[in-house]
């Protein structure tokens, strides 16, 4: 058993920190893209838009039943081809692993957020819709100002839990050789041979960030549970 030497971690910290920032940026971007698309997907299903509703449902079922790594491989292969077709000349447009990761995580998470919002929409009291009609609000205003804010507020603990899972899942960009927190650690470990210290520190950082966020979920949940009890 080699003695552990955590001074190496202090030297490596700036690089690990930049990796962590990448992980957080990827999480944030995927959250924003995923929430916007997910809300759209949920609304398309909610209004039972012909064709589009079915397509979205099939997309979500597909994405939810295959592993994220396979999804990453799919998009790494497909996105350049699709972009090539969109740009007109039909030739694949290489966009690099970083952009692939952002696009993939956004589209992948959209499927999960959409499920959360869809169930939320279904559970809203009918009286809310009727009251909006009585007030002569347009459909857009009904959803924009009345329905969606309520759904998002109550679903916030679950949305946040899903985002914690998303943060942990961003470590899978390792398979695209990107330099996220885990990628940075593994690259350093290959250079300095200190993989025990590197991976232990990475595990601790993930543990710290995720547990802190889990505490927020617990307190959000308590807040809304209290609001419910108060009624």
């Amino acid at each position: 058993m080699n003695s552990l030497d955590f001074s190496i971690v202090a030297q490596a910290w700036p690089y690990l920190w930049s990796g962590l920032l990448f992980s957080l940026a990827l999480t944030a971007a995927a959250f924003v893209i995923g929430m916007i698309l997910g809300t759209l997907f949920a609304l398309v299903q909610h209004f039972e838009v012909p064709v589009a509703g079915r397509l979205v449902r099939a997309y979500i079922a597909l994405i939810r039943s295959i592993p994220l790594i396979l999804v990453l491989f799919w998009f790494f292969f497909l996105v350049p081809i699709v972009l090539g077709h969109l740009s007109g000349n039909g030739r694949p447009v290489p966009i690099g692993a970083t952009w692939t990761a952002f696009i993939t995580f956004g589209l992948f998470e959209a499927a999960y957020y959409s499920e959360i919002i869809r169930v939320g929409l279904r559970a809203v009291n009918r009286g809310q819709f009727e009251a909006c009609q009585a007030l002569a609000l347009s459909t857009f205003h009904t959803y924009r100002c009345v329905i969606l804010p309520q759904v998002l507020r109550v679903a916030s603990p679950i949305i946040l839990s899903q985002t914690i899972i998303l943060f942990q899942d961003t470590s899978l960009v390792y398979v695209l050789s990107l330099t996220d927190l885990l990628g940075a650690a593994s690259k350093l470990a290959q250079l300095n041979g200190r993989l025990v210290e590197m991976y232990l520190v990475v595990a601790l950082v993930y543990l710290g960030v995720s547990s802190a966020a889990s505490q927020c979920v617990a307190s959000l949940r308590k807040r809304y549970a209290m609001a419910g009890a108060h009624r």
Binding site: M1, N2, L4, L62, R64, S65, I66, P67, L68, I69, L70, F73, W74, F77, I116, V119, G120, R122, A123, V124, N125, R126, G127, Q128, Q150, V151, R153, V154, A155, P157, I158, S161, I164, Q168, D169, S171, L172, Y174, V175, L182, S186, L195, V196, Y199, L200, V202, A203, Y206, L207, S210, S211, S214, Y224, A227, G228, H230, R231
Partner: protein, 264 residues
């Protein structure tokens, strides 16, 4: 489109044989991992509900640690880090396990213990969903703590959580793909290998995707059949501890704030 799968590979097999061997590893990981996860998860889940403070804290710690570290990082901890921090002779013995078992066993332990933390939360939710009267009645009958759990609490709790366990079954078979990072040649790894060998990326990934879809469908049907067989008549399933049923939480959305309620 899938014709290429039946062509000969460099090692004299067909590409479809690679895929099937990958499927075999995926199934082996998911199946044996599931039983590890179920056994450990049951113990930890029970541990979270017992009176003994130390046991409860240890169980909570287990769940926090295994749920808050990404499964890929845990994979690396079992595969790279564990042999280094064990005593040298023991660590060397682990490193000398011949392939493919040298990466299969760490992956199996990793997936099993990771999923166990999630199952533990479901088990706890199931136990907490039971009426308190069950434990009290067992006490009144003079059952010991062990007997209460063994004959009264656990059998009922497990029957309540079958729907939540479905999502854990789906989770473990999808997470088997993470094992490719430590060299287990499971389904996704084989699909990538075929794509690299033939440049037929669409076919290779398409075939793997169809297999995963079929697995998801089978898992779902089997769990639904189990649920139907063991559901306690007249009960609703316990809330899913990890993806709580949103409908329960959203119920309060539609209700009017107190002030308006009074004015009405």
């Amino acid at each position: 489109m899938f014709g290429v799968l039946f062509e000969q590979t460099a090692d004299g097999q067909r590409y479809i044989d690679w895929l099937l061997s990958g499927l075999g590893w995926t199934l082996a990981l998911a199946f044996f991992g599931w039983w590890i996860a179920f056994a450990v998860g049951l113990m930890v889940g029970i541990g979270r509900t017992v009176q003994n403070r130390i046991v409860a804290v240890l169980a909570r710690l287990y769940v926090e640690i295994f749920r808050n570290i990404p499964v890929l990082v845990q994979m690396f901890l079992w595969y790279f880090v564990l042999p280094e921090i064990l005593p040298t002779s023991f660590g060397n013995a682990i490193k000398q396990i011949p392939p493919p078992w040298g990466s299969f066993f760490p992956a199996l332990v990793c997936l099993g213990l990771y999923t166990a933390a999630r199952i533990a939360e479901q088990v706890r939710a199931g136990i907490e969903a039971l009426p308190k009267g069950q434990t009290e009645a067992a006490n009144a009958l003079g059952l010991t703590g062990y007997q209460t759990y063994r004959y009264i609490i656990v059998p009922q709790a497990l029957r309540l959580i079958v729907p939540s366990l479905t999502s854990e079954v789906m989770g473990i078979y999808k997470n088997t793909s993470v094992a490719l990072t430590i060299g287990v040649m499971e389904l996704t790894a084989q699909a990538r290998q075929i794509s690299e060998a033939t440049f037929q990326t669409f076919t290779a990934f398409g075939a793997a995707t169809l297999i995963y879809l079929a697995l998801a469908l089978i898992a779902y049907q089997v769990m639904a059949a189990i649920d139907k067989a063991v559901r306690i008549p007249g009960t609703t399933p316990a809330k899913d501890a990890i993806e709580p049923n949103l409908a329960d939480e959203v119920q309060q959305v539609g209700s009017l704030p107190d002030a308006i309620e009074v004015a009405k």
